[in-house]
């Protein structure tokens, strides 16, 4: 049984700004649970599209009721893969994000598509979808409900992180912003990897 979630959002920045901010999203004040970020593959194709893979490591903090179900030796970290295809000619960025481990507990897959808004100028439309499932016998429904609720609340954080990064990129960041390097704007953010959010 899989929980499906979808929504569309308008981001009041141009597609160029959004995709630039996409690569500079971490760290940001809303993602302190993201510990590491690495690009592990990148290629420009013959038709000028940019393919990338990023590996993220996040903390894994379970709610108490889940801690009782799982063995204490369980890994404290969750590994997330984010694959993306960026087409600068057609102006689309498609990302696909999912967790590599803890998949029995919960699998969260998210697909995002960033494109120019058809209706509004200097605006980017984000279409987001998620598939959340759990294979834990007898607990899959509460885990999925929990996962979905967390996923939705993370969308709020992700959008705040996005606005933070975009305003940084557009030159309004200040020295002393969390994660900033003195004298250099460090925007972070984006279409969140809503990793199994039971840990945070």
């Amino acid at each position: 049984m899989v929980k499906y979630f979808a929504n569309n959002t308008d981001i009041r920045s141009t597609w160029d700004h959004v995709v630039s901010a996409f690569w500079q999203r971490y760290p940001n004040p809303f993602s302190t649970h993201v510990l590491t970020e690495d690009v592990v593959y990148r290629e420009v194709t013959a038709d000028h599209r940019l393919l990338s893979r990023r590996l993220l490591m996040k903390t894994n903090r379970l709610p108490r009721w889940a801690e009782r179900i799982f063995p204490p030796g369980m890994s404290r970290f969750v590994y997330i893969v984010e694959d993306s295809i960026l087409d600068p000619v057609n102006r689309t960025l498609t990302t696909y994000t999912w967790n590599l481990n803890h998949t029995t507990l919960m699998s969260v897959e998210e697909r995002c598509v960033f494109q120019d808004s058809v209706e509004q100028p200097a605006t980017t439309q984000l279409k987001r979808e998620a598939w959340i499932s759990s294979s834990v016998y007898g607990f899959s429904r509460p885990i999925q409900e929990f996962g979905l609720a967390r996923f939705k609340s993370n969308q709020v954080k992700a959008m705040k992180g996005l606005e933070y990064a975009l305003s940084s990129l557009q030159g309004t960041c200040h020295a002393g912003d969390p994660g900033s390097i003195p004298g250099q704007c460090m925007p972070q953010l984006f279409c969140s990897a809503s990793s199994p959010k039971y840990y945070i």
């Binding site: 971490y26 694959d83 696909y96 999912w98 897959e109 979808e129």
Partner: protein
């Protein structure tokens, strides 16, 4: 931001800086004159791929955009 390989963080930052400039100033503007970051990327990758193996992170052989293939277009 840190790399998953503690020793790789400096190399990662160097690569990220190169990439971010090239991305906004060249790639997005349709400039196809080539990627100035290949050397720094190679150095970074040598380090991070080693760290991934050492930490047994199960990413090797995972197909690009793997699970998306089963999902219908929205």
């Amino acid at each position: 931001m840190n790399s998953v390989g503690e020793a790789c963080t400096e190399l990662k930052r160097e690569y990220d800086q190169c990439f971010n400039s090239w991305f906004s100033e060249k790639f997005l503007k349709g400039d196809r004159s080539g990627d100035p970051c290949t050397e720094t990327f190679k150095k970074y990758q040598r380090c991070v791929q080693k760290a991934i193996k050492e930490k047994d992170i199960p990413i090797d052989g995972v197909e690009f955009m793997g699970p998306i293939k089963d999902k219908p277009e929205s």
